[in-house]
């Protein structure tokens, strides 16, 4: 059974449109869109909120292709390879065709990843139901090692900020003995429950960006020539996809698989899909000059991520990237614990998530495909007019977290500054957020495991499933070390 009505349809459409706007504006992301619009979900139950959040997610990822094709600036990291062929096509007077090819490939990627999500998540969750506190602790530890993998070329910094996030999350009352810790006595009332997730999220992803844009003077990345105006040398036709099915299927599968692996990220997925496309291409020399297959590979891969990234989130409770970290925050705010029991305890919400993802992909296609000439103008929205409105929404969001607690508004500014300073010191913000979200659970399961074993640490090596998770942890660390070295080598070249 699913929950769907007119309201849910309108909300999903709204989410997709707002997401596309955020995705299309360079410097703004799907993560930021979800963080800013989270407070709106307070007015709805979880099923309605799911439509808004997934609409924002799909719209935000998809919108990135607009500036990538028209200005060769990826609107989101996952559309980094879209401009390789999309922009040359636009320069040849095939802008509309390139955009429509990208949008269609995005729809295919999104739908394929949805099928994988529907099939994979229950299997993983069934396995995870057998987990005791020990395995739960180890799974979160595994998620923490993902932090290392997330921090391309700055692994130590990533782990440091991840544990800093854990440390900050421990502020407030410890539930077992109801004792306040790590909070100055003058704030013992205000910070009894520690910092609230919502203002931390909005601060890290919206306010820090505001400070960075203000520092740059709110300069606009304008389209220099309106390349969509005038005569288009070649028009879009679905025949453009002739001979592209295998390429599209392979790229969407790569995107989905990379999405399932936590921490790999969208840019890596589209780069891998693009390089595979080049390997299997009959005309590899044409890639990078405006080849349809390159554009198809990039866009089907990055939308393949959407469903893939939700697999570990909904089956294990592990956020794989910044966007899913914000999504897990949204579930927590709605009182839903994502993890192994999520599907069995919330079958309606699970079915609704799948349906909402389908609807969001279809809406994305309809909203972007036909009026793309007008949608493309989004990238010319002046930032100096957009940010004051964003400030207003952020303040309302923080203020409403606990119905008017001013500490939450100050939390917003504090974590905006934290995010801004992190960007200056080249410290990753996503890892900090993942640590902050998982910190309390990490501690809870660690203490519960110890209580069950009389304080014996060997309990973490005593169960077969636990040992399997240890293998995953070491594999993840090995990948992180390899990736870190690779990035260092590339940087020194």
């Amino acid at each position: 059974m699913i929950e769907f009505g007119i309201l849910e349809g309108v909300i999903a459409l709204l989410g997709v449109v707002i997401g596309i706007i955020f995705g299309a504006l360079p410097g703004m992301t799907a993560t930021m869109a979800i963080a800013i619009f989270l407070p709106l979900t307070y007015a709805y139950d979880l099923t309605t909120s799911v439509y808004l959040l997934l609409g924002l997610y799909v719209g935000g990822i998809s919108g990135g292709l607009v500036p990538a094709i028209l200005m060769n600036i990826p609107g989101t990291p996952s559309s980094v390879t879209t401009g390789f062929d999309g922009h040359p096509m636009a320069m040849k007077g095939e802008g509309v065709r390139a955009l429509r090819i990208g949008i269609t490939a995005s729809l295919f990627g999104g739908i394929l990843s949805l099928v994988v999500l529907a099939l994979f998540t229950p299997v993983l969750a069934r396995l995870a139901i057998k987990f005791s506190a020990v395995e739960k602790f180890l799974i979160i530890l595994f998620a923490m090692t993902v932090i290392a993998a997330l921090s391309k070329g700055k692994m130590t910094k990533g782990i440091f900020t991840g544990f800093l996030g854990v440390f900050i999350s421990l502020m407030g009352v410890f539930p077992d003995n109801q004792t306040l810790r790590l909070v100055p006595s003058m704030f013992s009332m205000e910070l009894r429950d520690g910092f609230q997730l919502l203002p931390v999220l909005i601060g890290l992803f919206a306010f820090s960006q505001l400070f960075q844009e203000a520092e740059k003077g709110m300069r606009q990345t304008m389209m220099h020539t309106d390349i969509l105006k005038g005569h288009q040398s070649k028009k879009f036709s679905f025949k453009d996809f002739k001979g592209q099915f295998i390429n599209m299927f392979r790229s969407a599968s790569i995107g989905t698989f990379m999405g399932i692996l936590p921490g790999i990220g969208g840019s890596a997925a589209s780069l891998l899909a693009y390089s595979q496309c080049k390997t299997f291409s009959k005309n590899p020399e044409k890639l990078g000059t405006g080849a349809v297959e390159g554009l198809v590979a990039s866009e089907s891969a990055n939308n393949g991520l959407t469903g893939g990234a939700l697999v570990p989130l909904l089956s294990l409770g592990i956020p794989g990237d910044s966007t899913t970290a914000v999504l897990i925050g949204a579930f927590i705010l709605q009182g839903i614990q994502v993890g192994p029991l999520f599907i069995t305890q919330n079958p309606v919400i699970w079915n609704t998530i799948l349906f909402a993802l389908l609807i969001a992909n279809i809406f994305m296609f309809i909203v972007m495909f036909y009026p793309i000439k007008y949608i493309a103008k989004i990238i010319n929205i002046p930032k100096n007019k957009l940010y004051p409105g964003i400030i207003l929404l952020c303040i309302v969001g923080a203020f409403s977290t606990r119905s008017g607690n001013m500490v939450d508004v100050f939390t917003l500014v504090i974590f905006g500054l934290v995010g801004y300073i992190f960007s200056k010191l080249d410290l990753p913000v996503t890892t900090f957020l993942i640590g902050f979200i998982l910190g309390r659970d990490l501690e809870k399961y660690f203490i519960d495991s110890l209580k069950g074993s009389g304080g014996n640490l060997s309990v973490f090596f005593s169960r077969p499933i636990g040992l399997a998770v240890w293998v995953l942890i070491f594999a993840s660390l090995a990948y992180a070390f390899y990736d870190n070295r690779k990035h260092h080598k590339e940087a020194s070249l």
Binding site: F167, N384, P388, I395
Partner: protein, 136 residues
């Protein structure tokens, strides 16, 4: 030896176990980061704290907009409960618009105020009136 693999849990002190472990990890990683920075500085033959070549802010950064944002934000937050959501919103969103637009022309200022009024009223209508979300 087996004591090394045991952590004694005393109920009244159990709230300190997690923070102590995490703090220990943070200290270790701070030291690793410091050693990495020292080694990098040595390799590049420059002092560890290179204030001459490294700047916190980007080149030619917009002081007025950056610090103006900070000051306006603090003033906005301090006064919003006093003034109420709509007056404070209109006042400060106008000021943010004027600050970011950077124009002193009367027409531009009037447009900024118009935008602030419509945005504030729209947010009030959606969040405060339609959805009953608590506003200042």
């Amino acid at each position: 030896m087996s004591d090394l693999f045991k952590i004694k849990i005393v109920y009244s002190q159990s709230h300190t176990i997690g923070p102590k472990i995490i703090f220990g990890i943070l200290v270790i990683f701070s030291l690793i980061l410091l050693i990495q920075a020292i080694m990098k500085a040595k390799k590049e033959n420059r002092p560890l704290l290179d204030f001459k070549h490294k700047h916190f802010f980007i080149e030619n950064y917009d002081r007025v907009k950056l610090f103006g944002t900070g000051i306006l934000l603090i003033l906005y937050i301090m006064t919003m409960n006093l003034l109420g959501f709509i007056p404070a919103g209109i006042l400060f969103i106008s000021l943010f618009n004027i600050l970011y637009k950077g124009s002193r022309e009367v027409k531009s200022i009037l447009i900024s105020i118009g935008i602030a009024i419509s945005e504030t009223m729209l947010v009030w209508f959606i969040f405060g009136y339609m959805f009953g979300i608590t506003l200042p």
